[in-house]
C-alpha cells in the first residue's frame, strides 16, 4: 500500500513558466556537470545551486515572502558532509507547508547501497531516486511525471 502522504506529494503540479530547479550537492564538479545536463534539456528556466542541505533550507526560509523564487524541482544528493540528503528531508519536512506546495524532490546519487535505495523509496517526499550520471532522458521523464505546463 502506498501511503496517502506519498500520493499527495507526488501529484503532478500545474505550473506556468518560468520553472526552477534546485541542485543540492557538496561536489562542485557534479554541480557543474548536472547544470550542463539540465541546460541541454532546456526543461528549466532557472537553476539554483546549493552546496549543502543547510544552504538549501536557508534559501527556502530567505524566500518565504517571495515564493516565486522557490524551486519546483529539487535534485538532492545523498552523501554530503554534515547534513546528508536524508537529514535534509527531515529538515525540509519541518518547513511551513505553503513553502513546499509547489516543489517536488528527486534524489540524485551514485549510491548502490540497498539501505540508501530503500530509504529513498520509503520517503514520502521523494518521487524518484535518479542514478548518477544523470541522463537528459531520465530528467525529462521526471519532469513529465511532475509537471503539467500551462501555456
Amino acid at each position: 500500500m502506498v501511503p496517502l502522504s506519498k500520493l499527495l506529494f507526488q501529484m503532478p503540479l500545474k505550473l506556468k513558466r518560468p520553472i526552477r530547479v534546485m541542485l543540492i550537492d557538496d561536489n562542485t564538479i557534479d554541480l557543474k556537470i548536472n547544470s550542463k545536463i539540465i541546460g541541454i534539456t532546456k526543461l528549466f528556466d532557472d537553476i539554483i545551486l546549493c552546496q549543502s542541505g543547510e544552504e538549501a533550507i536557508a534559501y527556502f526560509l530567505a524566500n518565504e515572502k517571495e515564493r516565486e523564487r522557490l524551486p519546483h524541482l529539487i535534485l538532492l544528493d545523498i552523501q554530503m558532509p554534515e547534513m546528508d540528503g536524508f537529514e535534509f528531508l527531515d529538515n525540509y519536512k519541518l518547513l511551513p507547508e505553503e513553502l513546499k506546495d509547489n516543489t517536488r524532490i528527486a534524489m540524485l546519487s551514485s549510491t548502490l547501497d540497498f539501505g540508501d535505495i530503500r530509504r529513498a523509496e520509503a520517503n514520502p517526499y521523494v518521487i524518484k531516486l535518479l542514478k548518477k550520471p544523470l541522463y537528459p532522458a531520465q530528467l525529462q521523464a521526471v519532469f513529465t511525471s511532475c509537471f503539467i505546463i500551462k501555456e
Binding site: I37, Q79, L112, D113
Partner: protein
C-alpha cells in the same frame, strides 16, 4: 607468558574442610574461602573468580540453590559441586538448573579434585576466549561493512563524475575532437565501474542474510533489459514468462543472477550478426522457477564450459571480468538454485536455471 594462578572460591559451612582444602591446594591456586552462600557472594562481587566449588549441604542456602541464584549475575565462573551423600534429585537439579561443570563426592580425593579444577579452568578460559573472539569478529565485520559502504560512495562517486563528463562531451559534440582519447577514457571508466559493481555484488552475496520477498519475474526482466539493453539497441528479445503462481525468493540474489546472465547474453554477440536475439523464458510453479536464457551469440568453447563458473576465468577473445558467472554460481549456491549450460561455438549459448519457490 606466565598466567597468574587460577582464582578459586570454595564455599563450605564446615571450617575443617576449608582448612583442609587450603592446605592441599594453596600452592597451585589463589584460594578464597567462605563459610556460607552469602559470604561467597560477597567474594564473587569483589574478585574475578574463575572456578567456584560449593558444598551441597549447607544451612540456609544449599550449593545448588547458590549456583542457581548466580546463573545470570555471574555466568562465567565454572562450577563444581561437592556433596557427601548421593542425592540423585539434588544432582539432577544441579545439572539441569545450576549449570554445574563437575560433581564430586566427599571426602574428596586430592588428585581428582585437582584435575577437576584444572579442567574447569580450561573450560573457563575457552569460554572467555570464545567470547573475545566473537567480539573481535563483530568489530572486524562492522569495519568491513563500513569499508564496503565507503567504497561504494567515495570510490565510485568521482568515477561516476568522470562518466558524466564523458557523456557531456558526447552531447556537446566533442567526442571525436581528440582522436580516440575520449573513447578510451570512456571504456576505461566503464570497465572500472563494472569491477566496483561486481565487487559489491560479490560481497553482498557473501553475507548470509537471505530475504524473502515476492517476485514478479515479468517486471524484474523488463527492468533488467531496460538497464542493460541501453547501449545495445539492435538486440531482439523474445520473452515468454508464465507466472500464474506467487513466487517468494531472495530478490537481491535473483536480480544479480538474472542481471549477469541477461547482460552476458546481450554483450557476447558477433558484430556481424544481423539478427541478434536473446530468448528468455520463465515458468513458475509451486515448487520452483525454471528459467531459460538463450542467445545466438559467440558461444563458448567446449573445453571452457567447465571453467566459466570459476573466479577470474576469462577467455582470451572476450572482454570479461571473470566475475559475472562466478557471482551467479555463488548466488545460486546461497539460495539452493541450480544452473546448467550448453553452448555451440558460433551458434550461441543456453543457460538453464532452477530456483526453489519459498512459498
Amino acid at each position: 607468558m606466565t598466567r597468574s594462578p587460577v582464582k578459586v572460591l570454595y564455599i563450605d559451612d564446615e571450617e575443617n574442610n576449608l582448612i583442609a582444602f587450603k592446605a592441599s591446594f594453596r600452592r597451585q591456586y589463589e584460594i578464597y574461602t567462605a563459610n556460607s552462600a552469602a559470604e561467597g557472594l560477597k567474594v564473587l562481587e569483589n574478585l574475578p573468580i574463575e572456578v567456584i566449588i560449593a558444598d551441597q549441604k549447607m544451612p540456609q542456602t544449599t550449593g545448588v540453590e547458590f549456583f542457581k541464584s548466580i546463573t545470570t549475575t555471574f555466568p562465567d565462573p565454572v562450577r563444581i559441586l561437592l556433596t557427601g551423600y548421593t542425592d540423585i534429585s539434588a544432582l539432577a537439579d544441579a545439572i539441569n538448573h545450576g549449570d554445574i561443570y563437575r560433581y564430586i563426592t566427599k571426602p574428596w580425593n586430592d588428585l581428582e579434585l585437582h584435575n577437576s579444577i584444572k579442567n574447569a579452568h580450561d573450560a573457563y578460559r575457552s569460554k572467555i576466549d570464545l567470547r573475545n573472539k566473537i567480539k573481535e569478529l563483530e568489530k572486524t565485520n562492522d569495519e568491513l561493512n563500513r569499508f564496503i559502504y565507503s567504497i561504494s560512495h567515495e570510490l565510485r562517486a568521482p568515477l561516476v563524475s568522470v562518466i558524466g563528463i564523458v557523456n557531456l562531451v558526447k552531447m556537446e559534440g566533442l567526442y571525436h575532437s581528440s582522436g580516440e582519447y575520449w573513447e578510451l577514457i570512456e571504456s576505461c571508466s566503464s570497465k572500472l565501474d563494472y569491477y566496483i559493481q561486481k565487487t559489491l555484488q560479490y560481497y553482498k552475496n557473501n553475507k548470509n542474510v537471505t530475504d524473502k520477498s515476492e517476485i514478479d519475474f515479468k517486471q524484474l526482466v523488463d527492468e533488467i533489459i531496460e538497464l542493460y539493453a541501453y547501449s545495445y539497441k539492435d538486440t531482439t528479445f523474445n520473452i515468454n514468462i508464465n507466472q500464474a503462481q506467487k513466487f517468494i525468493g531472495d530478490s537481491f540474489r535473483i536480480e544479480v543472477i538474472l542481471g549477469n546472465l541477461i547482460s552476458n547474453a546481450i554483450k557476447y554477440q558477433k558484430t556481424s550478426n544481423k539478427e541478434k536475439t536473446v530468448e528468455i523464458s520463465i515458468e513458475v510453479n509451486k515448487f520452483s522457477a525454471e528459467i531459460l536464457i538463450k542467445d545466438n551469440g559467440l558461444g563458448i568453447l567446449n573445453e571452457h564450459l567447465e571453467k566459466i563458473f570459476t573466479q577470474f576465468f576469462k577467455s582470451k577473445n572476450n572482454q570479461g571480468s571473470g566475475l559475472g558467472l562466478f557471482i551467479v554460481k555463488e548466488a545460486l549456491n546461497k539460495i539452493n538454485g541450480k544452473i546448467s549450460v550448453s553452448s555451440d561455438l558460433d551458434y550461441g549459448t543456453t543457460f538453464k536455471i532452477t530456483i526453489p519457490n519459498a512459498t
